[in-house]
Amino acid sequence: MKKLLYAGVAILLISACSKNNVNPNGANVTGKIKVGESYATGSGVKVTLYQGAAFLTGYNKIYLVITDSASAAVVTNATIAISTSMGMGAGMAAMTCPVEQPVYSSTNELYTGASVFNMATGGGMGQWMISVNVTNPANGKKGTASFMVNVNNSTYNLITTQTGSDGQTYMITLVQPLKPQVGMNTLELLVDEQNMDMTYSPVNNFQVQFTPEMPAMQNMTSSNNQNPVLSANGHYVGKVNLTMTGDWKLDIDLLNGQTTIVTDADIEFTF
């Protein structure tokens, strides 16, 4: 059964996907799916990439296990920088998407980061490339491991991009709830702005206001919602009250002080 699952997953995965599913020493990858492994050539470490679930457009956690190429021991204090890009064809600039740099946790010995894929792969598009730049703390040498990954379209619009009143492009992404329940849910939104070089940076100085609505019910809303407030790194956390299952729309405004920057940005999902 487990083999079947892995086989199924493998179809979704890229060529780099290894048949070797043995957990690296110490790291706890229970419940996670191995995407692939690759040597960060020149640094003397191997990078193994895991996902929590198949990548979809939206907010995706990514997990890295760094091991010593020779001893296979888990490397715990490597310096890591990830970046993403998708080639748009000859003569076109590659596009990027917001990423969150992996942070090491000693509980599972994983480096956990995130990527907000804003476009699906396939259908004439290329693949997303996740580049992991590692500095091996043992020898100070750097190397880069790259993974080509597939991303499917999410059924829902979990990302919304809008040009703000200040001319900047902002991207709002639903971090949770990704599996909504009826009743009160923690609402977490990630707000990024696009830089001149087309990369993204988290925005930490906005106020977020939102209204949950059911379009099928003449935009009926709900009570006791709490506007998300900044926790860290562009993440804003509040509460959303989803009174019943069905199609929901979060109507989001971003404000900078008294100035409305983005209005009527919509995130839509169904559960």
């Binding site: 099928a216 299952t245 199609d247």
Partner: protein, 669 residues
């Protein structure tokens, strides 16, 4: 006196008991009204009305002056006592707790029993020994008919048929008793179906149709000289029931009600009556609006289901502690579990589902103690109390999640409740009797009041949400009455008052958005510091001539909360006057029902005033002897003048049926 007809009624204050029936020693108070369903052997009673097997339960309930009915169509009217309803009163079947599954009050417990199942209906006004648990308003108990041991005939019974012209109502029923010395079995069944009825003047009331069948089995086995084993089962299935006053109709409703009890009964012993019962009941109720043109109800297709399960046990004993003293005790436990949900089907969008009663459960353990002292042959005193422990909880994770949509605290709670009551009656002379009652009442909030999630109330057009932190509603009530009775004249006057503390009502939640399409807003149950309910009741009858008598029942109730708002669901002044004539095997009555306009209403409770009306009813019946058997025929004309009217309590001002010719034929063997 000879048997004259079926369709007789006792309003008894301490009816005589057969040997196997529960003693009424401790509740001779004027509180307790009992309506006995007529059978073959019934004699001519004090009043002659509609308490027969062919009647509907609501027709029988109407014979009790303190009982009013809330109509939402032509089916399952909801009984109330002096303007107190739902969680304010206890409605039980043979002492069994049972709770409706419908969140819109479409299925009061009274809708799951038929007179064909019943021996009698008793009503205890206010907390008292027969109020069946903690309450402020009192209790209504439907006593199931038991088979008779060692009857005159091994096989006996009845079958009957009826037809009503207005809604084309047909009814077929039967009952069969098998009786031996130590074992007896009673089986009964009924089928009734109606089309849409027409109001006075001829307007068809759409979605007022219904059909139902009901069946009951009761078995009695004599274990020893003074002990008996009884088992009862009732199945009641309704289908395609329209509720013109509401936005939904019942697709089907299924109720299964069962009990087994062991009874000890020996009048020579100190412990002369001891009954122990184990019971369970289950209701599956589904309503939808799929037959309604959606434009008329401002909604979208939706289905709402409800499942209510109750099981419990009680033991009740009567002990003679002296020549003049009878002590009664009762202990009971029960648990009710209620699940209700709603699914809406919007066009071009995902279906929407929510729990409306999020898997709520109540577990209760209670004890009753009461004592009756016959101080002298003129003076009787009784007093007692009831205490119970209630635990209310949400039992599932999805239920807790759903409740978080309206409430963020912990939903589970426990309550300790008590009732106290005292009664004294004094016979001034052969003709005059005075009676005084005083009681302290307390009730648990209903599971709907605690945990209901966006339940639409058609009366005021608001979505209601529960409030798990509600205080228990409390009351002090009292009444005083005087009765004069001579051979040909009877009159009883009664005045009563209830003072409420923490009266439970819905109040608008500012800014909250309703869920039901078309709702004006959201109301949440909360406690109103105080409220009062006052009223009086006059009953009288006089024999004008040997065969002709006149009787009158007049009731008036006035309710107001501490903020000056008129309480909801309070009937205005009502007068029922009856002229009845019994001659040989014939019985006739002409009845007028008059209700004043009700202007004492409050928009706070979403009520509108209602106009006065007066209607006339007429009935003639005759009983024929066919050998040892009897045939009973009756013709009734309800609303003789085809008056267009509705009562103040009728939800959404849906008019009542216009003229209706009702024919019943019953054969007793």
């Amino acid at each position: 006196m000879k048997l004259i007809l079926i369709g007789l009624l006792f309003i008894a204050t301490g009816a005589l008991c057969q040997s196997n029936n529960r003693p009424d020693t401790t509740h001779k108070s004027i509180h307790l009204h009992e309506v006995v369903i007529r059978d073959k052997k019934s004699g001519n009673g004090l009043a002659n009305k509609d308490a027969d097997v062919q009647s509907s339960t609501d027709q029988v309930l109407k014979e009790i002056p303190s009982v009013e009915l809330i109509y939402r169509g032509n089916y399952a009217p909801e009984p109330m006592i002096y303007g107190l309803s739902a969680g304010q009163i206890n409605v039980t079947i043979d002492g069994m707790k049972m709770f409706g599954a419908c969140t819109d009050r479409m299925d009061p417990i009274s809708s799951y029993v038929e007179p064909n199942n019943l021996k009698s209906i008793t009503v205890n006004e206010g907390p008292g020994p027969d109020a069946q648990g903690s309450t402020v308003g009192g209790g209504i108990n439907f006593k199931i008919n038991q088979p008779e041991l060692n009857a005159d005939k091994e096989f006996s019974g009845l079958f009957g048929a009826g037809y009503q012209t207005n809604a084309g109502t047909t009814q077929t029923l039967g009952s069969l008793q098998y009786s031996t010395k130590r074992f007896a079995l009673l089986v009964n069944g009924l089928y009734r179906a109606a089309q849409d009825y027409a109001a006075g003047g001829g307007e068809k009331i759409l979605y007022s149709q219904y059909s139902k069948w009901n069946g009951g089995v009761s078995a009695k086995y004599q274990v020893s000289d003074h002990s008996y084993l009884n088992a009862n089962y009732i199945q009641d299935d309704g289908n395609n029931i329209g509720f013109p006053a509401l936005t939904m109709d019942v697709r089907y409703t299924r109720a299964s009600i069962g009990s087994v009890d062991y009874l000890f009964n020996d009048s020579t012993k100190k412990l002369f009556y001891w009954d122990t019962k184990v019971y369970g009941n289950y209701i599956d109720h589904v309503m939808d609006n799929l037959k309604r043109p959606l434009s008329t109800i401002d909604s979208m297709p939706m289905v709402m289901t409800g499942i209510s399960k109750t099981f419990g046990a009680y033991t009740e004993a009567f002990i003679k502690t002296g020549d003049k003293n009878v002590f009664r005790t009762r202990a009971e436990v029960y648990q009710n579990t209620w699940h209700a949900d709603m699914t809406m089907y919007p066009e071009d969008a995902a279906e929407m589902y929510m729990l409306t009663i999020p898997d709520a459960q109540r577990t209760v353990a209670g004890i009753d103690l009461s004592d009756n002292i016959s101080v002298s042959n003129k003076w009787n005193v009784s007093f007692g109390g009831h205490a119970e422990y209630d635990r209310s909880a949400i039992t599932t994770t999805v239920g807790k999640e759903q409740l978080s949509a309206i409430y963020t605290g912990a939903p589970d709670r426990t309550d300790l409740l008590y009732n106290l009551f005292a009664n004294t009656s004094y016979r001034l002379s052969d003709r005059w009797t005075l009676n005084l009652d005083i009681a302290r009442g307390m009730r648990s909030s209903t599971l709907k009041e605690l945990y209901g999630v966006f339940l639409f109330n058609r009366t005021d057009g608001y979505d209601y949400i529960g409030s798990p932190a509600l205080h228990n509603e409390q009351s002090v009530n009292g009444d005083i009455s005087a009765t004069y009775r001579s051979k040909h004249f009877f009159i009883a006057a009664k005045a009563f008052s209830w003072w409420f503390h923490d009266y439970i009502a819905g109040e608008v939640v500012n800014g909250a958005t309703p869920v039901n399409p078309g709702a004006f807003g959201v109301k949440q149950y909360l406690n109103i510091p105080s409220a009062v309910l006052d009223g009086c009741e006059l009953k009288g009858s006089i024999d004008i001539y040997k065969t002709l008598s006149f009787s009158s029942v007049d009731t008036y109730t006035y309710g107001e909360d501490g903020d000056g708002h008129a309480l909801p669901l309070i009937a205005p002044f009502k007068s029922v006057n009856t002229l009845q004539y019994s001659f040989q095997k014939y019985f006739l009555y002409l009845e007028s029902v008059t209700e004043a306009a009700q202007y004492h209403v409050s928009s706070f409770y979403g009520e509108r005033s209602s106009p006065a009306f007066s209607i006339l009813n007429f009935k003639v019946a005759r009983r024929f002897a066919i050998g040892e058997n009897q045939l009973e025929c009756s013709v009734e004309v309800a609303n003789v003048l085809d008056t267009y009217y509705y009562e103040h309590l009728d939800v959404f001002d849906v008019p009542r049926p216009g003229r209706d010719f009702i024919g019943h034929v019953t054969f007793f063997f």
